[in-house]
Symmetry: C2
Subunit: 294 residues, 2 copies
Amino acid sequence: MTLRDFSTSLDALSINTATVRRQRGAEVPLTHIIDQCAALGIGAISPWRDQVAAVGLDQVAQQLRALGMGLSGYCRGGFYPATDRAGLQAALDDNRRAVDEAKTLDAPCLVLVVGSLPGALDGRAAHKDIARVRDEVRDGIAATLEYARGVGMPLAIEPLHPMQAADRACINTLEQALDVCDELDPGRSGALGVAVDVYHVWWDPKLAQQIARAGHERLLAYHVCDWLTPTRDLLSDRGMMGDGVIELKKIRGWMEAAGYSGHAEVEIFSQRDWWQRGGDETLATCIERHRSVV
Amino acid sequence: MTLRDFSTSLDALSINTATVRRQRGAEVPLTHIIDQCAALGIGAISPWRDQVAAVGLDQVAQQLRALGMGLSGYCRGGFYPATDRAGLQAALDDNRRAVDEAKTLDAPCLVLVVGSLPGALDGRAAHKDIARVRDEVRDGIAATLEYARGVGMPLAIEPLHPMQAADRACINTLEQALDVCDELDPGRSGALGVAVDVYHVWWDPKLAQQIARAGHERLLAYHVCDWLTPTRDLLSDRGMMGDGVIELKKIRGWMEAAGYSGHAEVEIFSQRDWWQRGGDETLATCIERHRSVV
């Protein structure tokens, strides 16, 4: 099995726009990020809903079309759990809007960060019942899936690192995500799959096995960055590819052996390092590392 | 299934001495910690090797005997991986000494924090091959087990949270730990098992299933604290039981249903909170929470 050659082309590179959403410490509008990427020959991005909303959905769609720029995914749906029926319904409504936006932007999938204990993100968990939120998440994905199938927008469940189990996502391993996929889409229709982010799954002793289990139909997105030692923050201390301990080519090898042929999307939250640098420097480094170590 | 009643007795309470190793920000000798625990009616501790060494093994053994104080475990063996044969051998030698010390202190088990990428703890990983260190760890446990069987000291593998997979332990789920147990001790002899620390495993969707799989013979230790939201440090921002989101009674119920009847050992690393308080306040709070929420 030979890896695809990333050294001679940027065809497989995508930039998750969170990577450069702050430049020299300041928030940067999506329109500027898109222009920066285009100027450097980057052909795909994965934007966040709040960044799109700040500019306007139609304007972003128009800019992307004008530049011939594609998406590797759209961030993000999910955050299903709530304390009451009205909250659960509001999440479903919001996820339908996310599906529609993804469709307008011609994204290949909507990435789902599924949510967890309501209120935990603000330090005030309304309850501790993780089995309950896992049930709510499954039901929420099922409802969104029904709508998304009609629209033709695949959903990619992103298992998040166990250190984010309380506040951001109660789906924490690839195995768990694939169990949900098998329950809700037993026919492997392509409508439901996973986003494999190396940061969240690199440690998993069952990773190779579960990537193989996922197979081509379920592998909808692949995100790269690196795990730093030490890691100083649970959310925003990710490393640039090559600067940490993740075996990037080994994992990509497993992905490609399972049939994945999509983008390697760079997603780096880095409050203390990359978000303090200029965006062009960060993007140039992404390109260099994409060619050499991804 | 009714839980053991912790509200009326401290028989099941043990204090991991790391919980009060710093008091009002300063390191405190083990002899003082032992006296503090005894004065409060606490009948068991789990001390760390460096704390024991600072006082002297025989003196600690004598103090424990004089007070009629028992151990719930001894912290810790492990840290097997190394870059060369001499390093691997040095780790095995050190683990034999740890077994002997545990025996001298009459510990019910030696807890193993197995180690991971050599050098990662100092921010300079010598390599990134996590499969290699997992093999080295299995071989190291096998060698220590052979020695420990002869001495009659059970080994308890402690799976560590995946956020510590790079630097402290490459065994990161209870399932993975039990797979090693099954490989090295298929007869479930009692010589090899696991230490279940809620902080490391609470997030695991397979936790109940794997605790049941472990069963009485493999469940050698049970550690409690809590997961705070937000968590501000990957190592030393653990919460006091009841202050976070872990379902402590539910997990203890699974342990007891599987046949566990040992201590609930309080192990809290808390640089910003409990280590800044007085030891008596911390210990009194441990007692109160043991009675009410553990």
